[in-house]
């Protein structure tokens, strides 16, 4: 089965600071998804990456997929308290029949 390891497991940053969350796969990624989960709520889809080297941005959040398609990073610029939550990566397996989530990164932004 596919394994998605996220690092760090938790992160506490001062408001205004930049931060990066990583998602590393044990296998080639065929579709990499990033989600945000507010504490006590369900997941909200952020972005999807499919091609090696692809980069997408939405407001102050940028996600990249490396050329080898085994690692993705999520970068937040000038973090705000509204960015706080749990960030999860997810990916299809090579058969397209299963979907796996990463281990999650808990982000706290201190005002």
């Amino acid at each position: 089965s596919q394994e998605l390891e996220q690092s760090p497991q938790s992160l506490i940053v001062q408001e205004g600071k930049n931060l990066t969350i990583n998602c590393t796969s044990s296998k080639t990624l065929y579709g990499l998804y990033w989600y945000k989960q507010k504490y006590g709520e369900g997941l909200i889809f952020l972005m999807m990456l499919q091609k090696g080297g692809e980069e997408k941005s939405h407001e102050k959040i940028t996600a990249k997929l490396d050329e080898k398609k085994q690692q993705s990073s999520l970068h937040i610029t000038a973090s705000q308290p509204s960015h706080a939550g749990i960030y999860l990566c997810g990916a299809d397996d090579d058969t397209g029949n299963q979907f796996y989530f990463g281990t999650g990164t808990s982000l706290t932004v201190i005002p």
Binding site: G42, G102, T103
Partner: protein, 113 residues
């Protein structure tokens, strides 16, 4: 209200008891999913359904039973709850089955004593 709802939001039960978690969506989405979320494991797919009366196992189906007699409902039953099933359970739905189009419910926090 339109959307996807789960009930109950919190449940405490004892080992060996049967528990059913409810999921209801108002969009008539074809696909529905059940996940459990545990520290260190992220979300893991338990079961999913592509349409009424069609269900398939996910990554961790053991100990769970699902049914889908109506498109809008997808109940998850723990026939004999175990402590290892203490978790937060999320239901999701999507029209196409694509994971970027899933809408998640608010979750049910289940504790098995």
């Amino acid at each position: 209200d339109a959307g996807i709802t789960q009930s109950p939001r919190y449940k405490i039960t004892e080992t060996g008891r049967q528990v059913t978690l409810m999921c209801h969506q108002t969009w008539s989405h074809s696909y529905m999913f059940w996940y459990r979320q545990d520290l260190g494991h992220g979300l893991r797919l338990i079961y999913y359904s592509a349409a009424a009366d069609i269900t398939d196992k996910g990554e961790v189906p053991d100990g769970y039973v699902v049914s889908r007699s109506k498109t809008e409902n997808f109940p998850l039953t723990l026939e004999s709850a175990t402590r290892s099933q203490t978790s937060v359970y999320f239901c999701a739905s999507s029209e196409s089955g694509s994971y970027n189009e899933q809408f998640f419910g608010p979750g049910t926090r289940l504790t098995v004593l």
